[in-house]
């Protein structure tokens, strides 16, 4: 037997392994230490992983014959994911009294899920990617149904059932792609597609389509988005926060990898994706208009944002990758920030009525100001980060010729202003009617300020980060 020696480079996997080890510790240690300490441990672990990711920048290491890569794209996504997870961890601390997230396994499962997301972002092999995808999904299914309330259970069950349905579609798609190309490795697939012997283009097209649907489900693109509002509303707020940023970002990382690398030369998925994006933009934005619950409104808003990032998937990889990463980075800060504010203001996990924000501007200036910041950025008002992100995406899509979609995106994001501005108007321009609870402690406040600063800095000096991302270009 000719055993091929395994090619393992532990350095390349350092961030991933750090998170995984932290997760294992977070699983075991609760027997011995307090939950607060676990939270601290998780935060430290994530920070170490963050440092490791930054340290690995530009090294371009890879492992397992290229199945796992720590290139800048993966590292960039890793950073975004770690930041998203960190925000969730910190947010969870102040609402511990409200319960729901301070069960000790919370951190463990969260960290496992993070490791799954990182695997998803780094994998260059369909099966590894699938495993990352599933680790992430399973973790989030559990987290969604973490509370023994009817809403949380409903969220968990819906997510799980529909999620496994979508996974099955995804796996079938992977099978078909393998059938067409005989490969699982992303670059290998592309090579196979380009090779003259390639004959199964229609099988590849259907496989690509199934993979597209599986990922569209996970990133919440219409018409596969319907779980999103319900799950986002029903899940504990911190979990929703994590889902809306890290899970979405990781799913997009895989999405971009598969379609930007492996299947970029397969035809047939582009038109359906355009259709999905158009539908997503309209449905996400229009549905958000009439929501009375802030949490649900943000859920629909997150559907809409999936549409924007979807444009980057559609665009040519050279611009799509970096713009999507930049967008998701900002999106992580602003959306997680908005959820963090929502989190400390709600009396339970069901979110809060937008009307009850009235007068918040004077009663809780910091929370109101930061929420305003995040909402404006989500709406894409310059000079905040959200605008730059949106601009980069539009630009990428336009330069690949998807002009109609860009116009649609612009129009719908004008519509989105209506629902983003409403809370702001209520907070500042209306007298207070409801007394909202305020769970915010020092950690949340610092977190909010850091997020707000990040959103502003990414808007004002985008090149500080985007310049680095230039290297992501393939």
């Amino acid at each position: 037997m000719n055993l091929v020696p395994p090619d393992v480079n532990y350095y390349s996997m350092l961030p991933f392994i750090t998170v995984l080890l932290t997760a294992v510790f977070a699983t075991i240690l609760p027997f011995y230490v307090s939950r607060k300490a676990i939270a601290g441990l998780s935060a430290v672990g994530l920070l170490v992983a963050l440092a490791a990711s930054i340290g690995l920048w530009n090294t371009n290491l890879s492992s397992f014959y290229g199945a796992y890569r720590a290139d800048n794209f993966a590292l960039g996504f890793g950073i975004v994911l770690i930041v998203g997870a960190l925000i969730a961890v910190i947010s969870s601390v102040d609402v511990a009294k409200r319960g729901g997230t301070m069960q000790a396994e919370f951190f463990a499962i969260l960290l496992y899920a993070v490791s799954g997301t990182m695997l998803l972002a780094s994998a260059h092999d369909l099966i590894v990617l699938l495993i990352g995808f599933e680790v992430m999904s399973l973790g989030v299914y559990v987290l969604s149904s973490f509370k023994e309330t009817s809403n949380s259970e409903e969220a968990g069950l819906k997510y799980f059932l529909l999620g496994s349905f979508a996974s099955a579609i995804l796996i079938f798609g992977i099978a078909l792609v393998f059938g067409a190309t005989g490969k699982f490795g992303l670059e290998a697939i592309n090579t196979a597609v380009l090779s003259p012997e390639f004959k199964n283009s229609s099988i590849a097209a259907v496989g690509a389509l199934f993979i597209l649907i599986g990922f569209s489900f996970k990133v919440a693109m219409a018409p596969f988005h319907q779980w999103t509002p319900d799950v986002y509303t029903g899940a504990p707020t911190v979990v929703t926060q994590f889902m809306s940023v890290a899970v979405k970002a990781a799913a997009f990382a895989g999405f971009l990898h598969i379609f930007g690398l492996a299947l970029q030369n397969v035809s047939g998925w582009q038109t359906p994706l355009q259709f999905l994006i158009a539908l997503t933009l309209m449905i996400g934005n229009l549905s958000a208009l009439r929501q009375s619950n802030l949490k649900r409104m943000l859920a629909y808003s997150s559907v809409a944002h999936a549409g924007y990032v979807g444009l980057a998937v559609l665009a040519s990889p050279s611009q799509g990758f970096s713009s999507a990463l930049y967008y998701l980075g900002i999106y992580t800060l602003m959306n997680a920030g908005a959820f963090a504010v929502l989190n400390v203001l709600s009396k339970d996990e069901d979110g809060l009525e937008i009307e009850s924000l009235a007068g918040l501007g004077s009663s809780k200036p910091l929370l109101a100001a930061t929420l305003t910041f995040f909402l404006l950025s989500l709406a894409g008002i310059p000079p905040l980060g959200g605008f730059i992100g949106k601009y980069l995406i539009f630009s990428a899509a336009a330069s690949s010729g998807y002009y109609g979609l860009v116009i649609l995106a612009a129009l719908t994001s004008a519509v989105s202003l209506a629902y983003y501005l409403r809370p702001i108007g209520l907070m500042y321009f209306r007298p207070r009617v409801t007394v909202l609870p305020d769970f915010s402690g020092r950690s949340t406040r610092v977190l909010l300020l850091v997020c707000a600063a990040g959103v502003l800095i990414l808007g004002l000096v985008p090149n500080a980060v985007y310049g680095l991302l230039e290297l992501v270009k393939k």
Binding site: Y32, A67, Q103, E105, I131, V206
Partner: protein
Amino acid sequence: MVVFVILAVLAIAGALGTITFKSGIYSALSLVGTLLTLAMMYVTLHAQFLASVQVMVYAGAIMVLFLFVIMLLNESQMSGADPLPWVQPVAIAGGIVMAAALAFTAFQFKAPKNLETATAALQGGTPGVIGETLFTKFLLPFEAVSILLLIAVVGAVSLVHRQPAHNEALETTSEHATDDAYADEVSSSNPAKVVA
């Protein structure tokens, strides 16, 4: 070909049974039938190891778990009218379209290699050759899948641990929180399971 047709008919029959039987137990047993048929099919496809795994893990362990849960929940027949009567025809129509389209695509498949030589390369799909692949080319997925199992275990346990809806009681207990974070939540749960 005859074998294939028989097996295919059986598999489809089982699948149809799975989706038509009202009772969960019959439904699950039909699926077991399909799974066993597929295992036989794997043998015809030179995947001996998979065939055995299919029988042991899938038809055996997993489906037994299903049956166990079905019985645990002691599910009665669905009561009351279907609130979504339109779903069934729509689903069937959609399913037929999908099946037709997929089957149509399937027949466009052009074999990349000569089937005989290709089959020979499989070496029968014995555990040995599969193991070799898993520990060399497929090491990463093989390792990574362990995380999947880990999270499955931790997740399943934590689902049992979930917090009650009204957490006033919890808040009072959490004031007496000891270092042992698991202990003060649900005292009945067995920590040993977690480590496993």
